[in-house]
Structure formats: structure tokens, C-alpha cells
């Protein structure tokens, strides 16, 4: 198959058609267009942020006379001022964009993989498998995330990727629940029965008939998963149990709060807080902006 043929085959595949339709739906609303814009900015910052950061993020800034520049308010040289150690806040914010992005995408991807597998299997296979898997989901829902994560982190150490793994391996529960209920509905449709009657295998039906039908919903729940992961990671950073050497937005807020300088050195804690809020809000709006998108489920 030539490249052109491959491209054409992809363009006409179920997934591409559904992806285009979903995207068009999302872009038709002003709110979701705004959300897309914000995410695009965060994505670009995550890629180029560390390169365009004006200073090394942990370099202590000094004045010409060699004095440490602590709590410097925003100026031309330091657009977001400096923190308690005299480090440039803007540079730290830009570095933090990448760690946030990596956390969100990896943990979100992990959540999606586990949640989709569990949800689809439970929904389609049914019977004892379903009961067992859904009890597992209930069990996962019984885990209060932040306390559990703190225990696991003291157990496995506060590595950057350890935190991501913990986020991904616990928070998939809401995805599994929604996907299962969706698959249960799709399973009843006549064309699935027709496919089964004509001898299609279970993997084939899942891949060809069920997956394309839940693809857009899965995509939206991926967005919400990424948002949730970013939020929870910020919370863990704030408690101070994540890797202290990886600069994240949550740690910036923690440091400002610990120093008791939230109100007067506002340029230190507010930019990371606003960035987290904007990013997560955009992801949630994408996930919800599309009506009928499993909105009765709670994201815990």
C-alpha cells in the first residue's frame, strides 16, 4: 500500500470520521473553542517552555551590587517577580508547564488504558466477569485518593514517575464505570446482534463495532482524566510528598504558602494557581461541553 493509499484509508476509517465529527461539534461552541485555545497554549508552553525560560529555574538572581533579589515584584527583567530564594518566578512557571503536561498526559493515558479495558470487558462480556470487575471498581471507589497516595508514596519513594503511576492506577475508576454503562447500551443494538449472528468473534465486534461508538466519549473522558490527574498531582505537591526536585506548579503554591507570603507576594503563588485552574477548567469543559457525555457520573 502506498503512502497516499494509507492516508486515504485512515481518512475514511471509522475513527477518523468520528474524530472529525466530535471535533466539529466541539469547535462550534464558543466555550469549547476557548478551552481548545487554552490547551493549545499550555501544550506549546509544555514543549518550548523550558527553552524560552529567561533564566535557569533554580538560579538565584542578584542585583548588580551582588545583593540577593528576594520577593522582587514584577518588573521588566522579571515579569513575574522573584520568590523567597531569589529565583525567577516566570522561569519556574515555564518549567512547570512541562512537568504538568507530562503528568497529565501519562497519568491520563494510563487511566484511559485501564479504564477502557475494564469497562469494555465488563460491559461486553457480562456475567461473572462483569460482577467481579465492577466489584473491583467499587473497591477502587472506596479508596480515598489523597491519603492512599500519601501512603503509597512513603512506601515507594517520592519519584516523579512513581506519582504518575499512582495517579493512573487509582483514578481510572470513573472511566471504567461510564464506559461499561455505555457498552451495555450499545450491546443491545441490532447490528451487534447481526454481527454476532453472522459469526463475528468477540475481539472483532469490540474493535469494529463497539470501540468506534465509544471513541468520542472515551476521548472526552481522557480530557477529564488529564484534568483530574493534574489537579491531584498539584494536591500531592502541595502536601509535600512529591519529588521536591521536580519543579511543579503545586510546589510553587506550597512554597509560597509555607513562607506565608501568599497575600503580599501574590506574583509568586497566583500565576501557578491560575495556570492549574485554567488548564483543568479547559479540560473539564471539553469533557462536559459535549452534551450527553455521560454527565451523570461523578469524577471523584
Amino acid at each position: 500500500m502506498s503512502v497516499a493509499e494509507r492516508v486515504r484509508a485512515y481518512r475514511d476509517s471509522d475513527f477518523a470520521i468520528i474524530a472529525r465529527r466530535t471535533l466539529r461539534n466541539l469547535l462550534s461552541e464558543r466555550i469549547t473553542r476557548f478551552a481548545f485555545g487554552v490547551l493549545l497554549v499550555v501544550l506549546i508552553l509544555g514543549v518550548v517552555g523550558p527553552m524560552i525560560a529567561p533564566y535557569p529555574y533554580n538560579e538565584q538572581q542578584t542585583t548588580a551590587s551582588g545583593e540577593l533579589m528576594r520577593y522582587e515584584p514584577p518588573s521588566l527583567e522579571h515579569p513575574l517577580g522573584t520568590n523567597d530564594r531569589g529565583e525567577d518566578v516566570l522561569s519556574r512557571l515555564l518549567i512547570g508547564a512541562r512537568t504538568t503536561l507530562i503528568t497529565g498526559l501519562l497519568a491520563g493515558g494510563l487511566m484511559m488504558t485501564v479504564g477502557l479495558s475494564v469497562g469494555m470487558t465488563a460491559g461486553y462480556v457480562g456475567g461473572k466477569t462483569e460482577s467481579l470487575l465492577m466489584r473491583l471498581v467499587d473497591f477502587m471507589y472506596g479508596i480515598p485518593f489523597i491519603p492512599f497516595a500519601i501512603v503509597l508514596i512513603t512506601f515507594f519513594g517520592a519519584g516523579f514517575y512513581t506519582t504518575i503511576a499512582i495517579l493512573g492506577l487509582v483514578l481510572w475508576r470513573f472511566i471504567a464505570r461510564v464506559i461499561r454503562s455505555q457498552v451495555l447500551q450499545i450491546k443491545q443494538r441490532p447490528y451487534i446482534m447481526a454481527a454476532r449472528a453472522s459469526g463475528a468473534s468477540t475481539p472483532w465486534i469490540m474493535r469494529k463495532h463497539i470501540l468506534p461508538n465509544i471513541a468520542n466519549m472515551a476521548g472526552l473522558f481522557f480530557a477529564m482524566g488529564v484534568g483530574l490527574a493534574i489537579l491531584e498531582q498539584a494536591g500531592l505537591s502541595f502536601i509535600g510528598v512529591t519529588d521536591p526536585f521536580t519543579p511543579t506548579w503545586g510546589i510553587m503554591i506550597r512554597n509560597a504558602n509555607q513562607a506565608g507570603r501568599v497575600a503580599d507576594a501574590w506574583w509568586w503563588s497566583f500565576p501557578p494557581g491560575i495556570m492549574i485552574a485554567l488548564t483543568v477548567l479547559s479540560l473539564y469543559l471539553l469533557g462536559r461541553g459535549y452534551e450527553g457525555g455521560g454527565d451523570d457520573e461523578v469524577v471523584v
Binding site: 479508596i143 494536591g235 502541595f238 503563588s269 494557581g273 492549574i276 473539564y284 451523570d296
Partner: protein
């Protein structure tokens, strides 16, 4: 399957689930490398003393003996002693649970009432400005990390305006003054309410999203039903109409309420840390750092049982509130 058998089955499943969680918690914490004594070794304690302590706390026995002992103790409502303080875990945890409950239960309840009403109004103004801005507002408050929300409130109302105290539940002189009085007396002091305002507001703003959005969706769905056209033809005013809609639309919100109450335990940890609230969340964090297993284990058990019972109640409520819900499905679908 008859309704009675369905309830019986659900009860049995719940009991088994609680037992499994208790066992899982035991295994999980015993498999963690290092127990409380390893911290004492770091602090330079004499090995012989530590051995004596391990024997005293029952840490020296084989795992299965410890497990049987643990289950028997749980059944007889004995949850052990804190390694750190040497006090019974229950005496340590009980006031903390009360403090957390006093914070979270009224806050979540108020959130569900106000958020539900707001959601209903949003649902009635479908496509209008109020609905669009309302959805964004409640989503925005749920996107700001809850700890940051608390920090902002402290920065504005405590540090800058000086209206509310920054942290804690009572000022130190007051808590010393009332320590001989019954515990509940503190909740009646005006000073307590001043400390209460900001954490309460934080919980409310953060959790407003669920009831508001779910009520909105539910109201939108109900609004399309025919009985409403009939009521409108009768000439009922909008306020009466809204009341009728809310009665029909509130089922999903009502069933979510216990779940939300249970799930808020996780978010509560951060809010308690920010406001230095002497609740179960901040106790848990400090206990984890000190490896005080009996306390951690019990707090986790309380949290898990709380969630499981919440789900159980929801299942039962569904059957009672909405007779259309079939109980013939394998799991009460």
C-alpha cells in the same frame, strides 16, 4: 428475585466487602517496609528496648497470628493503641472524626441544597445567559485546586481584610479555657463559627459543581415530559411548576448526596491542612509520616466503610424512591 431477597443479598455483599477491605488494609500496611520501630532505630533507641516494644505491640508474632488477632479485635470493637501517643486509637480518632464531620456534613448538605436549586434554575433557563455563565462558574470553582481556593480565601479575608482568623478551630487560650467542659460545647462558641466560615466556604465552592450540573441535566430531561405541558396548560405559575419539576428531577441528586459526602474525605485532607483544622485528614497525614499504623489503618477503615455504606444506602434508596427501578437485574441495575 423478590425485593426482600435483593436487600438481603445487598447487605451480605456489603458485609463481605467491609471484611475484604479490613483484610486488605491489614495486609497492605504489614507489607510496607519498616514498621514504627524502624523510626525509633533511626532516632538511636536501644535495640533491646525496641525488641521489647515490638513484643508489647504484637509486631513480633507471625503475620497470620497478627491477622487473626486483628480481626478478633475489630469484631470486639478494639482498634488498638497509637504507637506514637500510646493512647487508644479510638480516643485519638473519635474527636477528629467529629471535627471533620462537623465541617463536612453541613457544608456538603448546604452545597446540595443551594447547588441543587441553582442547577434547577439553570435547567429552566436552558440556552440562556444564566445557564451558560452558571455552568462555567461552578466548573471553574471545581477546577481551582481546593487548597488554592482556601489559600485565596485566607489571603483575602484573613491576611488582607482581617475578618476571619487564618487557621485552627479555636484560639489557644479558648481551647485551654474550655478543655474541662464537654467536647460539644466548643461548637457553640462564636469564636468557633469565625474559624468555621472559611473552610465551610471552601468546601461549598469546590463541591458545588456536582449538584448544580446534575440537577440541571435532570431538570432539562424532566422539562420535556408531558405532564409538564399539562400543568402549564392548567395555568400554574412558574414557581409552582419549578417545585413540581424539582420533585421529579431530584432523584439523581439525592442519590449522589451520600456518595459525595463519602468522597469528600479525600478532598478534605487538603482543606484541613490549609486551614489547620484538627480533623481526620490532618491526623492521617501526620500519622503516615510517623508510621503510626494502628491510627492510619483505622482511619482508612473508617473512610472505606463510610464509602461502602454510602453506596449501599444509595442502592436501597433507589429501590425505595423510584419504584420503577427493577430489582431483578444481577446487581440492581
Amino acid at each position: 428475585m423478590s425485593r426482600l431477597r435483593y436487600f438481603a443479598r445487598r447487605t451480605a455483599v456489603t458485609a463481605v466487602l467491609i471484611f475484604l477491605v479490613a483484610s486488605a488494609l491489614f495486609l497492605f500496611f504489614r507489607l510496607m517496609p519498616g514498621d514504627y520501630t524502624s523510626l525509633l532505630i533511626q532516632q538511636g533507641m536501644d535495640p533491646q528496648q525496641i525488641e521489647a516494644l515490638r513484643r508489647k505491640w504484637g509486631l513480633a508474632a507471625p503475620l497470620h497470628v497478627q491477622y487473626v488477632r486483628y480481626i478478633v479485635n475489630l469484631l470486639t470493637a478494639d482498634v488498638g493503641q497509637s504507637f506514637r501517643y500510646g493512647e487508644p486509637v479510638w480516643d485519638l480518632v473519635a474527636p477528629r472524626i467529629l471535627n471533620s464531620f462537623v465541617l463536612v456534613a453541613p457544608a456538603i448538605t448546604a452545597t446540595y441544597i443551594i447547588g441543587g436549586l441553582f442547577g434547577a434554575i439553570m435547567g429552566r433557563r436552558r440556552g440562556g445567559y444564566l445557564e451558560k455563565s452558571g455552568i462555567i462558574t461552578v466548573s471553574a470553582f471545581h477546577s481551582i485546586p481546593d487548597f488554592f481556593l482556601g489559600i485565596i480565601l485566607i489571603a483575602v479575608f484573613s491576611s488582607t481584610l482581617g475578618i476571619f482568623p487564618t487557621s485552627g478551630m479555636l484560639s489557644t487560650p479558648t481551647s485551654i479555657m474550655i478543655q474541662d467542659q464537654p467536647y460539644w460545647r466548643r461548637f457553640l462558641l462564636p469564636e468557633f463559627w469565625k474559624h468555621y466560615a472559611l473552610p465551610f466556604a471552601t468546601v461549598m465552592l469546590y463541591f458545588m459543581q456536582y449538584p448544580a450540573l446534575i440537577m440541571r441535566n435532570s431538570v432539562v430531561e424532566v422539562s420535556d415530559q408531558e405532564f409538564l405541558h399539562y400543568h402549564r396548560l392548567k395555568g400554574l405559575p412558574e414557581s409552582t411548576l419549578l417545585r413540581k419539576i424539582i420533585r421529579h428531577a431530584s432523584l439523581p441528586v439525592v442519590t449522589l448526596y451520600p456518595i459525595s459526602l463519602a468522597a469528600s474525605i479525600s478532598g478534605l485532607v487538603l482543606i484541613e491542612i490549609v486551614f489547620n483544622w484538627p480533623g481526620i485528614g490532618s491526623l492521617l497525614v501526620s500519622s503516615v509520616l510517623a508510621r503510626d499504623f494502628p491510627v492510619i489503618q483505622f482511619v482508612f477503615l473508617v473512610a472505606a466503610v463510610w464509602v461502602i455504606l454510602g453506596n449501599f444506602l444509595v442502592d436501597l434508596l433507589y429501590g425505595v424512591l423510584d419504584p420503577r427501578v427493577s430489582v431483578s437485574g444481577s446487581d440492581g441495575e
